[in-house]
């Protein structure tokens, strides 16, 4: 790792007040661990700061970062800023749950330097919110966005979910229209994915509800893209839309552009261009590893005390595959130079262009909307 390599910093806040039945991100609902967690995180920052001295994007995700008490959030931001230079024009994002966003909370977030707010609204339909197990109502969501604007957040992203069981096109359109009333700079629209290990997975298996049919998912997707594009939102990644290019998520784009990032906190992943490693998926394990061993020499933090969950060293071939599959998820697409390193790529490009899934220009191959809908198959077409 050379000092300049990293620029994206992710911190995973592993706490939620309640667990949502569809979510498979790591979090725990026992907030007693918060204090020890912030101490452990401070130590992890200290270990990495020499190889990661500065950042131009910072992203607090979770979990529910806004579930943390103000003091804990202050401590975390102080720890970061003490060790890592955050550039003045940095994108500093925090994920928020609508009913955590009081005026006071929002003012505090502004004071800590957050300039982008990603609000987990999910739906403006109370029945859907209830189905999703969310702890807020549509009204609370509306109010939280108004408060955020008042507090001075001029970059707001709204998270929405669609292709829900029983959801109609009209219902989804209503939610989209509600969101657009706030002129958010950014929208993330996720199709519900039923993942193994979540309560929804068991529900679907026991036929407690009927997941959206693939054909309908496809129609929802094409509709959403066209609907938002018509209203000025660029569909720049499979699930992401921005009101202008400058509002595209800078931090998240680093993942799709295969750039380097450091992830701190339980279950967070890091990538240094060759190696990827990830932390243990447990708050207790994370805390114990970082704080468990008494330091003989507090100034020197040893690699062994890092809460590693695993790592992999990527081969050139694997790096090429990742860059391809990530690139094909975005409207930037992928450089032809890169694509052409795959066998029979020109023939595949021609076919995909003929099938209306890719547009090939002089130096890039970019997926069409229909291509984004089939992005995983697209990548597979190139590997053999």
């Amino acid at each position: 790792m050379s000092p300049q390599t990293f620029s994206g910093l992710y911190i995973h806040i592993p706490f939620c007040r309640t667990k949502c039945p569809y979510c498979d991100f790591y979090s725990c609902t026992d907030l007693h661990f918060v204090h020890a967690f912030t101490a452990a995180l401070e130590k992890e920052i200290l270990f990495y700061c020499t190889s990661f001295p500065s950042a131009d994007t910072l992203y607090l995700g979770g979990g529910t970062p806004t579930a943390l008490p103000d003091a804990a959030l202050s401590d975390i931001m102080a720890s970061v800023r003490k060790q890592i230079a955050i550039s003045t024009d940095a994108e500093i994002t925090i994920e928020a749950n609508p009913n955590d966003l009081s005026r006071e909370k929002l003012a505090h977030l502004r004071s800590l330097g957050f300039n982008r707010l990603s609000i987990g609204v999910q739906s403006f339909d109370d029945a859907m919110l209830q189905f999703l197990g969310r702890r807020h109502t549509a009204d609370e969501a509306r109010r939280s966005i108004d408060f955020a604007r008042e507090a001075g957040f001029d970059t707001i992203s709204i998270d929405l979910m669609y292709a829900l069981p029983g959801q109609s096109r009209e219902g989804w359109t209503a939610t989209l229209n509600e969101a657009l009333r706030f002129s958010p700079e950014h929208l993330s629209c996720y199709q519900l994915t039923i993942k193994e290990g979540t309560p929804f997975f068991d529900c679907a298996r026991m036929a407690a509800f009927q997941p959206c049919a693939e054909q309908d998912e496809a129609e929802f997707f094409m509709f959403t893209s066209a609907f938002l594009e018509e209203r000025g939102y660029g569909h720049y990644e499979v699930s992401n839309f921005a009101r202008a290019e400058k509002f595209q998520a800078r931090h998240n784009s680093k993942y799709w552009e295969h750039k380097l990032y450091l992830g701190l906190g339980p279950s967070a992943h890091s990538f240094d261009g060759r190696r990827r490693w990830w932390n243990v998926r447990s708050v207790e394990g994370y805390i114990e590893k970082l704080l468990g061993a008494a330091d003989e020499t507090p100034d020197v933090i040893r690699q062994e005390t890092m809460p590693a969950g695993g790592s992999e060293l990527l081969t050139d071939e694997q790096l090429r595959m990742e860059a391809l599959m990530l690139g094909l998820r975005t409207r930037r697409g992928i450089e032809l130079e890169h694509v052409l390193t795959f066998p029979h790529a020109s023939a595949t490009l021609q076919r995909l262009q003929a099938e209306g899934l890719l547009i090939v220009s002089s130096n890039r191959a970019t997926p069409t909307t229909h291509g984004l809908l089939l992005a995983d198959s697209l990548a597979l077409r190139f590997v053999e």
């Binding site: 992710y10 991100f25 996720y190 199709q191 519900l192 994915t193 693939e214 054909q215 998912e217 496809a218 997707f221 499979v238 699930s239 998240n252 993942y255 799709w256 990032y261 992830g263 279950s267 967070a268 992943h269 890091s270 990538f271 990827r276 990830w278 992999e312 694997q318 595959m321 990742e322 599959m325 990530l326 998820r329 076919r351 099938e355 899934l357 984004l372 809908l373 089939l374 992005a375 995983d376 198959s377 990548a379 597979l380 077409r381 590997v383 053999e384």
Partner: protein, 598 residues
């Protein structure tokens, strides 16, 4: 020479041949208990898994008989399945006697008879041995009656043993010594050595298994193959123990190996006679049956880049399996490959498995076909075993397909279901007789194509494994044939087309379409599968495309998992074949061959 005995063990499948062979070897002190693996002679994985012997293996045993003399016994192991009667015939030509093994519970079965007739053709001494006498279901008296009535042998001369429990082994050794005649031949006569097997050793080249009928062979001799006149210098001769054991020479009456620096594997023809170049024999050894291919199928590499590797694998494979015939073939759908001739369906399956396992080939095999004869309106006669070369139907005057006479022995209670099965498969001219109380032998004349298809599987299924089965080719007969083509997205997949009897065409076409529908994964576009005779569509199915194939979220923690999935799919793709723009997995081609229990 008086102290040499050359013998084989012949039996119906599962009557305990390999177990007896192992017991004899162990008894002769060649392997102690610690070394003893079950069924030493079945040394291929497939043989162990399927419990059948495919390749003949040989072993020299020393035995001190009750007369105080030491005897040199050469055991020549033989395959036990109907498809391999050719290999049995080669082994039998090298023997003076056989142990005819009969299961004490099962009694005489179809292959017991077939094997007996083969041994009789070679004028061999036959020693009936009733095996598995320790089984609770053993009925030695009934089996003795069958030996007398069915086989026409002296039942009182039958030995009783349990190879598994080691009972009666001494008596078998004594009978071999007393009843099987010693070989004849003149060690001083011109050399006549019969090749009955050959193996390829990557370090030493071809290892020839042979029986010396006349003369003597030693290292340094210049030998000549009588079929093609090729000459080689002998490097090494010896006998088979569990490994090769070098000897100074091999003389008339002996069985052993010859290594003569033969690098080009196709130079060795099993069935050929080796003689001395300087002092040649006047004639070659008689008594060999040329292998006759009954079933034909094409083999293609999944990736056309692997064609050279397949060429090499087939060349090496062929050395160990003289019965396999192959020639170059090409398909519009599958590229360059080989048309292969097999002894039967099991032989085909074994070749396929061995090419994949032992030679690491990823291959696709086409639906098995038999050899059809066509007389065209212009008087020309043609033979077709490959649907690709099916003549223009308007030019055909007479079409003929091969018929076989089948013999099935079953417990009486299965008679109804077996009769129905045979009639459904166009069986004709049935005959029955009762070899013993409660059992029935059924004969039918039937098209070979019906057997090749899935007859044996069906027979085993309807008789719950109690049916024993054998068949003999009886000639071609006039028939109404059609070619069914399979089209994937309107492109004919030549490798999937089949020649069938007119009445079976629709059912087979539908079945192939349905199986392909199940095995071809959804792709990004709609796939239409059709069966057609000429321009007429007789069967159809469709595979709907992916509507959506993308995960909603892909952030820092998702990338590894997604890449791993892609890597796994990439591996899966290696086993796919592109036909037009459709990816067809290897298992789709295989599924077309397989029978399904209904």
């Amino acid at each position: 020479m008086q102290q040499i005995r050359n013998f084989s063990i012949i039996a119906h499948i599962d009557h305990g041949k390999s177990t007896l062979a192992d017991r004899l070897i162990q008894h002769a002190g060649l392997s102690n208990d610690r070394q003893f693996r079950d069924q030493i002679l079945d040394n291929m994985d497939i043989e162990r898994e399927r419990g059948i012997t495919i390749k003949s293996q040989n072993c020299a045993l020393n035995y001190t008989a009750k007369d105080g003399k030491e005897y040199h016994l050469n055991l020549i192991d033989t395959p036990g399945h109907v498809d391999f009667s050719y290999e049995v015939s080669r082994a039998l030509a090298s023997c003076e006697g056989v142990l005819l093994l009969v299961d004490a519970a099962q009694g005489v079965e179809a292959q017991t008879l077939a094997n007996l007739y083969a041994a009789m053709e070679h004028n061999l001494e036959i020693i009936p041995v009733i095996n598995k006498i320790d089984l609770p279901a053993a009925d030695v008296e009934r089996v003795k009656e069958e030996i007398m009535d069915e086989l026409g042998l002296d039942a009182e001369a039958a030995l009783k043993c349990s190879a598994k429990a080691g009972i009666g082994i001494d008596e078998i050794f004594e009978a071999i010594v007393e009843r099987i005649p010693p070989p004849t031949g003149d060690p001083a006569a011109p050399l006549q050595a019969l090749i009955f097997d050959a193996n390829y050793d990557p370090f030493r080249g071809t290892v020839i298994s042979c029986r010396i009928f006349e003369g003597t062979i030693k290292a340094g001799d210049i030998i000549r193959f009588m079929s093609n006149g090729a000459t080689y210098k002998v490097e090494d001769v010896g006998v088979f123990r569990l490994k090769l054991e070098k000897h100074k020479q091999l003389s008339a009456g002996e069985v052993g190996y010859i290594i003569a620096g033969i690098k080009t594997v196709s130079d060795t023809r099993v069935g050929d006679t080796i003689t001395n170049d300087a002092n040649p024999a006047a004639t070659a050894v008689h008594g060999f049956v040329e292998p006759k291919s009954m079933v034909f199928s094409s083999v293609y590499p999944i990736s056309s880049d692997d064609y050279p590797s397949l060429v090499e694998a087939l060349e090496k494979y062929k050395l160990n399996d003289a019965a396999l015939e192959y020639e170059k073939d090409s398909s519009a759908a599958l590229g360059m490959g080989f048309r292969c001739g097999f002894l039967g369906l099991l032989h085909l399956e074994i070749v396929q498995e061995r090419l994949e396992r032992e030679f690491n080939q990823s291959i696709i095999m086409t639906a098995p076909s038999v050899q059809y004869k066509f007389t065209l309106k212009n008087g020309q006669n043609i033979i077709v075993d490959n649907p690709q070369y099916y003549p223009d139907p308007t030019t055909i005057d007479i079409a003929e397909e091969p018929y076989v006479k089948i013999s099935i022995i079953i417990p009486e209670r299965y008679m109804g279901v077996v009769m129905k099965l045979c009639m459904d498969r166009r069986g004709l001219n049935s005959k029955f007789h009762y070899p013993s109380t409660g059992r029935i032998e059924i004969n039918f004349e039937m098209p070979l194509a019906e057997i090749v298809y899935d007859f044996y599987d069906r027979l085993k299924s309807v008789t719950q494994g109690y049916g024993s089965f054998d068949y003999d080719f009886i000639g071609h007969r006039e028939s109404e044939l059609v070619k069914v083509e399979i089209l994937v997205n309107h492109e004919p997949v030549d490798a999937l087309s089949i020649i069938v009897h007119k009445e079976n065409a629709r059912a087979r076409g539908l079945q192939i379409c349905e199986r392909l529908e199940k095995e071809i994964p959804r792709q990004m576009f709609k796939i239409i599968i059709q069966g057609a005779i000429g321009g007429t569509i007789i069967a159809r199915s469709t595979i709907n495309p992916y509507r959506k194939d993308v995960t909603a979220k892909c952030y820092g923690g998702d990338i590894s998992r997604k890449r791993k999935l892609l890597e796994k799919q990439k591996e899966g793709k290696k086993r796919m074949k592109m036909v037009g723009n459709v990816e067809i997995p290897q298992k789709a081609f295989v599924s077309v061959l397989k029978s399904v229990e209904d």
